[in-house]
């Protein structure tokens, strides 16, 4: 296990180092698919320059990262490449460890005998961390995002740390990392629900709204979460000496003033929309992200880890400035659900579409911006297709997960009343 992981790390670091040194790095750092106005390294450098001059880094409406990030890079700017590499590797060390001890023993007792083939053997479980590491480190999306020095890599690292601490059952650290993630980009707020569900499950507190112990735990967690969030916000204030950063970071995320094309759904809609509908649709689009938390938490309250995956996917699809780095984070979880592969229905179609879209992004961008022969509709069509494919992928995994649960409780080979083989239909 250690040897292949080391090899993998060496390979990943070599690829990144080679790309940093090549002429491609500048090209990649300019791609709209890889960097967003929030995460672009160019903007961080601009912010740093302003900070050095004694001007607020948020003056000039270029820099939109949080104050902690800029102070981090204030000290690390010479080692930026190393920082991004470390953050990528950090993700890898962190993400895989967690899934080691899924509830194999627990499941084996409970379910009918013919379901045994649905349950993963310990041997398969053993390789999952390595596969996750491979999926994350060698994913072209992660490599691109890392080479472009997109700060998205740091956000991913924070979220990965949050997942790790949650699964290890460390309530305090989990709350701190969650608040750090929220501080970075608001949307991870929705990960509160799975974290609570997981931690209550771990501490054998029943999720029951009439029980005091449940509310007591929620209050504790909320206190830790809000407390550390408060500390961070105040710290930012004291570092900068002004509240400039609130509208410049969170206002920027929520009100989407920058309509540079990206792989998300916002830019085209809001570029085309009449100004007086803007606020309404802004609310609709933003609520979209938070809204799925409730039904998903109810449906998946037994399976908080899967819920985390679903939430991450929803965030990266619907957030206002998505980049390929966000997608890479939830794609890294896919090997964890390798036991669902037999129930997936559209995986071939979806992976073909994702592949084709990834190749078509730069082509249509070239035709639109450089050749001038295509227009924004071409590019947006591909964006739309890309997002539809992602949604299909996620819903496919969701369906497969539910179906596995169904089979676990009712047996793998379902029979109709007359004895013929039955099929499950989703309607």
């Amino acid at each position: 296990m250690a040897a292949p992981l080391t090899l993998l790390l060496i390979l990943a670091v070599t690829i990144r180092a080679a790309l940093y040194r090549s002429s491609l790095a500048d090209l990649i750092a300019e791609r709209v698919e890889v960097v967003s106005p929030l995460t672009a390294w160019k903007r961080v450098v601009e912010g740093l320059a302003l900070l050095d001059l004694g001007v607020s880094p948020y003056a000039g409406d270029v820099f939109h990262e949080t104050p902690l990030i800029i102070y981090l890079f204030h000290f690390l700017v010479d080692y930026a490449e190393i920082t991004f590499m470390v953050s990528a590797i950090n993700d890898v060390f962190v993400v895989p460890i967690q899934f080691r001890k899924q509830k194999y023993a627990l499941e084996a007792e409970r379910y009918p005998l013919d379901c045994l083939e649905l349950i993963r053997s310990p041997k398969e479980m053993y390789y999952i961390p390595l596969k996750v590491a491979m999926f994350y480190l060698l994913n072209p999306f992660t490599i691109l995002s890392c080479v472009a020095k997109s700060t998205c890599g740091l956000n991913n690292a924070v979220i990965a740390l949050f997942i790790l601490t949650t699964i290890k059952g460390n309530v305090l650290l989990s709350a701190i990392f969650l608040s750090l993630a929220t501080y970075q980009s608001i949307y991870p707020l929705t990960l509160c629900a799975p974290a609570l569900l997981y931690l209550t499950q771990r501490q054998y507190i029943p999720v029951n709204f009439r029980r005091f112990s449940f509310w007591w735990f929620v209050a504790q967690y909320a206190f830790m979460y809000l407390g550390s969030l408060f500390v961070m916000i105040c710290l930012s204030f004291f570092l900068l000496g002004s509240w400039d950063y609130l509208p410049s970071v969170y206002g920027f995320i929520l009100s989407v003033p920058d309509l540079t094309p990206n792989i998300g759904l916002f830019w085209y809609f809001f570029a085309e929309m009449f100004e007086h509908f803007r606020l309404f649709f802004l609310c609709v689009f933003q609520i979209n992200i938070f809204f799925y938390t409730i039904p998903l938490s109810i449906k998946l309250k037994e399976h908080p880890v899967f819920l985390i995956f679903m939430q991450l996917a929803v965030i990266s699809i619907f957030k206002s400035y998505p980049t390929v780095g966000d997608i890479a984070l939830y794609l890294a979880f896919l090997p964890v659900w390798s036991h669902l592969h037999r129930f997936l229905r559209n995986i071939f179609l979806v992976s073909c579409v994702l592949l084709a879209c990834s190749a078509l992004f730069p082509v249509l961008w070239h035709l639109w911006i450089y050749a001038g022969s295509a227009n924004s509709n071409f590019y947006y069509a591909i964006t739309l297709l890309f997002n539809v494919a992602q949604i299909l992928l996620v819903s496919d995994y969701f369906y497969a997960f539910l179906r596995r649960e169904h089979h676990l409780s009712y047996g793998l080979y379902l029979k109709r009343k007359d004895g013929s083989e039955a099929t499950l239909v989703l309607k």
């Binding site: 083939e117 398969e124 037999r342 229905r345 559209n346 071939f348 073909c352 592949l355 084709a356 190749a359 078509l360 082509v363 249509l364 070239h366 035709l367 450089y370 050749a371 001038g372 022969s373 295509a374 299909l392 369906y399 099929t423 499950l424 239909v425 989703l426 309607k427």
Partner: protein
């Protein structure tokens, strides 16, 4: 969404698609070819029409009077050119200044990676001369360009004469709202490249040029003029630019409209328009015209001096005067009026030309096929790849009969599979990289050891690498992973087929013609290759349909279309020079066809070659 969620209907559809896979593929291929051939049939095409409002309804009057004087200037230019033995820079500067233009010169030099035998040049040094007529009517934010190349020998003197005549005439008019730049470029495309890079402050190809001293506004449109005789019978329009880019169709419409108005015979691809579309010969005429355009576009090289403008988002075309044996001749006055009319209409533009089509094929000057009509032809070919991929996927997903617990088996088979797929992928791409880099870098060594010329050294190295690649991949992967499995080649083929589909799709979007020609030859290969087909005949078919052979056939086909058939011997020489031109175009102007073929298409084809010899 019923299809995506209802398992019964899905199963029915998938079983239908896998059972009838081969017939559906054949039908799709036929349908694609028939669709493409049908594009040239006139009732299926659209008539061209002027979309741009500013150029459509406005009236302009053409009254260029001084054709004779322009010809006299041309003769004077020819005399000076002969005396200097190149571009008569001083004379041009003086003449342009006498005509009231702001005149500037730009020097440039460029060393080619290897000597160009077609044009006999290696170390190129030259000067561009251009004069700017400042717009009297508007702020000087926009410009139009009229250029004429200064070529060696007796060519193109009339074009320069007419250009200077027009400059003098335009100077006296008061209605210009855009700067007009009169450019005389030396060494055709190299000079043009230097001038454009200087104008836009870019340097993409590493050429040395002196910076421009004077500049107009942003260039809206450009025409390049080629004229080598005092009287002409027809005007020919050349549209194909770098990487198969085409100018906005409105530019072609403008040319056509003025030819109609003034009564000049006009051609495209040197083919006159015919009215008998319902006869066989009429149809074959328009097929011929369209195929010529497809072949030229697929080559990805600029077919006139205008070709490089397109990269800077400037609509441009080349206009050639042709003097054939027809009775009816047009004099220089009329050509001058034609150009005057076109420039006056372009002068009326309020925004860049964008109303009309950018993606089109022209079976005649009055008809065009838009992207919506020609893309299905490509789509039908691409669908074959997806169907084959689906078929392979289904075969891979269903566990082989005999083993009960498929899950564990595939898990175990997976890890060697990754290796056996990765090895050919990496090796074939390395071969591609070698094909891309070696010919230019190894020409010195080849020159020392073999009695060949520089160009031959480059081309023959390329062919040698290409052929060596055929032997390489299937020998090495056996080293690494032992015997190939049944499962292994299916995975490899799935990867290769999807790779090809994405590659061809992207190519067809940028350069439809190239994508379609490659699809025409590579799709059958991708569809039928398995390790179980008879080796020798299939290897033969595979080689015949490989990219290099496609190019060879294209050369003969192109000559056939131009009605100058050549012998095999000459064809081979031409083929070699086409390859060297392709490499030169890449390093001089940044044409993408050579790297595309070397780095992506050829490795992809090698994967199929690899599958055939999978043991």
């Amino acid at each position: 969404m019923g299809l995506l969620s209802d398992p019964n209907r899905r199963r029915a559809l998938i079983s239908l698609l896998t059972r009838l896979n081969a017939p559906i593929c054949v039908v799709c291929y036929m349908a694609g070819v028939v669709w493409f051939m049908g594009l040239a049939f006139e009732p299926f095409t659209l008539r061209t029409y002027m979309s741009e409002n500013a150029m459509g309804s406005t009236m302009v009057e053409e009254r260029f009077p001084s054709g004779e004087r322009a010809l006299a200037t041309g003769r004077e230019f020819a005399a000076h050119k002969k005396k200097v033995g190149g571009m008569p820079v001083d004379w041009l500067v003086k003449t342009m200044q006498a005509r009231g233009l702001e005149v500037f010169t730009q020097t440039f030099s460029r060393t080619l990676p290897f000597p160009d035998e077609n044009k006999e040049r290696y170390m190129v040094k030259g000067t561009n001369v251009y004069g700017i007529l400042r717009a009297p009517r508007a702020p000087r934010t926009e410009a139009l360009v009229l250029s004429a190349p200064c070529t060696q020998g007796d060519h193109n003197n009339q074009a320069v004469g007419l250009l200077l005549g027009l400059a003098q005439y335009f100077r006296n008019q008061i209605y210009w709202a855009k700067d007009i730049i009169f450019l005389i470029n030396e060494h055709d495309l190299i000079g043009m490249q230097a001038w454009l890079e200087g104008y836009h402050h870019t340097n993409t190809t590493g050429m040395d040029w002196s910076p421009l001293q004077g500049r107009g506004g942003s260039i809206q449109a450009a025409l390049s003029l080629e004229l080598s005789s005092d009287v002409i019978t027809s005007m020919d329009l050349v549209l194909e630019g770098l990487n198969g880019q085409l100018p906005n169709l409105d530019l072609a419409n403008l040319f056509y409209a003025f030819c109609q108005k003034i009564g000049v015979l006009c051609t495209i691809q040197g083919k006159l328009q015919r009215n008998d579309w319902d006869s066989v010969s009429g149809y074959s005429h328009s097929v011929q015209t369209m195929m010529l355009m497809v072949m030229k576009q697929a080559s990805g090289r600029p077919w006139g001096d205008h070709g490089l403008f397109l990269r800077y988002h400037i609509e441009a075309a080349t206009i050639k005067g042709i003097n054939s044996f027809r009775q009816y001749k047009t004099d220089t006055n009329t050509i001058g009026r034609l150009l005057e009319g076109m420039y006056r209409k372009l002068n009326n533009l309020l925004e860049r030309l964008h109303q009309s089509y950018f993606f089109y094929l022209m079976p005649s000057l009055s008809h065009f096929v838009s992207i919506g009509y020609y893309m299905p032809a490509f789509g039908l070919l691409a669908v074959i790849l997806l169907l084959r991929a689906l078929d392979l996927w289904v075969q891979l997903a269903s566990p082989p009969p005999g083993t009960e617990d498929g899950v564990v088996d595939t898990e175990q088979m997976w890890s060697p599979d990754v290796l056996s797929v990765l090895t050919p992928l990496v090796i074939s791409h390395l071969t591609g990289v070698a094909l891309y880099y070696l010919p230019i870098h190894f020409q010195k060594m080849a020159l020392e050891h073999f009695p060949v010329s520089d160009t031959e050294a480059v081309v023959l190295t390329a062919i040698a690498v290409y052929t060596a690649g055929l032997a390489l991949p299937h020998n090495t992967h056996r080293f690494v992973s032992g015997e190939g499995t049944e499962h292994g080649w299916r995975v490899l083929k799935l990867v290769a087929v999807l790779y090809l589909a994405v590659l061809l799709g992207c190519t067809a979007l940028i350069n439809f013609s190239l994508g379609f020609i490659l699809a025409l030859t590579l799709v059958p290969v991708a569809a039928f290759v398995t390790p179980h087909v008879p080796k020798v005949p299939s290897a033969f078919v595979l080689v015949i349909l490989s990219p290099a052979c496609t190019l060879l056939f294209s050369v003969f086909f192109f000559q056939e279309l131009q009605e100058v058939p050549i012998s095999f011997q000459d064809g081979w020489v031409l083929y070699l020079s086409v390859i060297s031109q392709g490499i030169l175009d890449h390093s001089l102007y940044g044409s993408l066809v050579y790297p595309l073929i070397a780095l992506l298409v050829y490795p992809c084809w090698l994967l199929f070659w690899n599958i055939l010899f999978w043991e």
